[in-house]
Subunit: 416 residues, 2 copies
């Protein structure tokens, strides 16, 4: 029998009525002949409540205890959904991460799944049981302690379970009905994509499109798990298919650009007139890395060689907005080592990215975008490009204008 993984997030299991709706979706697939594993998150709000208590108890908490507390949210939902399925006359049982087991690293709070033994789930399927798996959690077997995978980790659980049990596909049910060409709240003409490649989805997820967690897309890509993003708010009797995330080859009509993503979670830092010599970049970025601050875009502009005796340069880079203050403090503290003349920062910036595997075979895609933005009077502060995407850093005020401009430019607008 073909197997299917269905994943439901916090808003989809927010209360008993919503859990019944989830059960109706599951019943449909069981009646269609699938062996089903359902992966569930905590009821919405519960994880925040638990995290709030942890923070109240302890400022610099032991992540092992954080995990013991927070993993309880998914435990509750798994039991409640199993009960609800049973009440519908279906054969179901709950599985905690440690019962399967879902083995993870010991990076408590953001553990990585290392292996999932399918034997017990297989035996359950053989008994005709629906497996209701607590998402987000696992166990570090050498210590026997509970672990969690970090926010959005239930997506990762779902895709990893799908890979482990050889599921035909993994359906991620969310509160949106699929992956869009861009955020429909900003661009009303945004279109739902029928298909998107793993590589593109990976870029979108890492650029702040909140539909799927990056790690889950990575696992889906490596294990070639056909993954659908679809809505749990659809009528269980007549749901829409959502967006399929799949291999590039499966997508026949490939656009040059598939989607426009943006991230307001950026901050820009500029160091003025640092020495333009080897080792300077290391002086700056090694301490930031040690402080666990991720640097994204980096631009180095040689300037003023003619006027100054010693060559100096300006260096601009971006960090996550949450790390901005810490990064600035860090740089001020290391001012003498780095030897910059001035330190400037800006948090009113946004990173806008265009993503598409079609860029590989089309030259000049980014250049067309730069021109279109310039025509609207939008100043580009920084640029990065990769094989299948390019990003520009601009003033936050121009977010909507820039996104709409690129969305139209690359032919993504829905027909009126």
């Amino acid at each position: 029998m073909a197997r299917l993984v269905m994943k439901f997030g916090g808003t989809s299991v927010a209360n008993i009525e919503r859990i019944r709706n989830v059960a109706a979706h599951v019943r449909r697939e069981v009646e269609a002949g699938y062996q089903v594993a359902v992966v569930v998150s905590a009821m919405s709000g519960k994880t925040n409540e638990l995290v709030g208590w942890v923070n109240e108890c302890s400022k610099f908490y032991d992540a092992r205890e954080y995990d013991a507390v927070v993993a309880s949210g998914e435990q509750v939902t798994s039991g409640l959904l199993a009960l609800t399925l049973q009440e519908m006359g279906l054969n179901a049982r709950s599985w905690q991460g440690w019962q399967i087991p879902i083995c993870t690293s010991d990076a408590h709070g953001s553990a990585r799944i290392e292996s999932i033994d399918p034997a017990r789930l297989d035996a359950g399927f053989a008994r005709g049981e629906i497996a209701v798996v607590a998402g987000f959690q696992g166990v570090h077997e050498p210590t026997g302690r509970l672990t969690t995978l970090g926010r959005g980790g239930s997506d990762t659980s779902a895709v990893a379970v799908a890979a482990a049990i050889g599921a035909e596909r993994c359906d991620i049910y969310t509160d949106v009905d699929g992956v869009y060409t861009t955020d429909p709240r900003i661009v009303p003409k945004a279109r739902k994509l029928d298909k998107v490649s793993f590589e593109e989805m990976l870029e979108m997820a890492s650029l702040g499109s909140k539909v799927l967690q990056v790690r889950s897309v990575e696992i889906a890509m490596v294990h070639k798990v056909r993954t659908f993003v679809r809505s749990s708010f659809d009528d269980p009797a007549n749901p829409r298919p959502g967006t399929l995330i799949c291999e590039e080859e499966e997508i026949v009509e490939q656009q040059v650009v598939t989607g426009i993503a943006f991230s307001k979670d950026e901050a820009q830092i500029t160091l003025r007139r640092i020495a333009d010599k080897p080792g300077v970049a290391a002086n700056i970025f090694v301490p930031l890395a040690e402080a666990n601050i991720n640097v994204d875009m980096i631009i180095q502009v040689v300037s003023g060689k003619a006027e100054n005796r010693d060559a100096t340069t300006d260096l601009t880079f971006t960090v996550q907005a949450a790390d901005y203050e810490r990064a600035m403090d860090h740089l001020r503290k290391h001012k003498s080592d780095i030897a910059f003349e001035a330190l400037e920062g800006a948090t009113d910036v946004v990173k806008i990215s265009a993503i598409g595997v079609g860029m590989r075979s089309h030259a000049g895609v980014a250049a067309r975008a730069f021109k279109a933005l310039a025509d609207k009077g939008i100043n580009i502060r920084a640029i990065t490009t990769s094989e299948i995407k390019f990003s520009v850093l601009i003033d936050k005020d121009y977010t909507e204008l820039a996104v709409r401009t690129l969305h139209s430019l690359f032919g993504l607008d829905a027909a009126a």
Copy 2:
């Protein structure tokens, strides 16, 4: 180093402030040199919330899923207390039932502890860790499924852990400051007992004194675990000792009667004019037992032999109030098998019991009580006696009068 188990119930861990208070109690004992295992219940209200959800999902629920859901409450508290202890600079970690493991039967919802392997807790003590154990829960090892011990089960967890790790004593912290000669709300002159024997406590617990769960007293008695009942609301810096539950030999000044208990949770059923011949009692009580209805007091009065051709008798017995309607229905259904003429019932009754190991060596204790109650005009509907207690069933209206009468009669009133 001497070991100590400390148990805190739901009201003692109701919120983070109360958990900090618990941690202060634990710190005191650690500083006194003990290796401490703390057993915690769910935050008050949480278990009811979880049980409410289970009932909402499923009317006739799978007790295995009930356990998976409900066990999460203690998981949360164990992690939060470990964090709070760490925040105080103490070395602590949480233990779920399955991590130790606390092995139980598979009677989900009311599982019995079968064994506790102390090896991992021992290793934790050797590392200088306080063990924070999730109460109420265990694991059925053959299936690997979570189990719970039933309401009040955390007391049982505590005493069983104390026995397993060879603790010097087990301190049960509650919202009362000890065991009283009777309910102080009914008898203002009730006195706190300094010591009470296991046997007496067992009778008190089974008679509805809610201080400790019966099963926990049984385990304490079998394993000779010196158990204190004391208040978590005392100043952690200067707590009172509470009541010690210990072996009879340790109690020097033994009273004839140690305490007066009462249970309003009773109902009386009388069958009029049933045949007075062998097999009739079995006809009545076997079906009730099969319906899981416990019968407590039984009185059979031979009547009317002179007037009737066939000998008949009246039979009176008591059941728990919760089982009353079910028992009456059952008897009506089996009317032809049992062949009674009339069925009568009363729920406005109360069972009042006097308990004391001293009764073993003092004759006429019950007789004195019957006379004292008769002198107050209280009619006794039924009587049962055992080696260390006697009970009378009377009209509920006389509860306070009867309890006060017996409390005075046996010299239990506190000095004014």
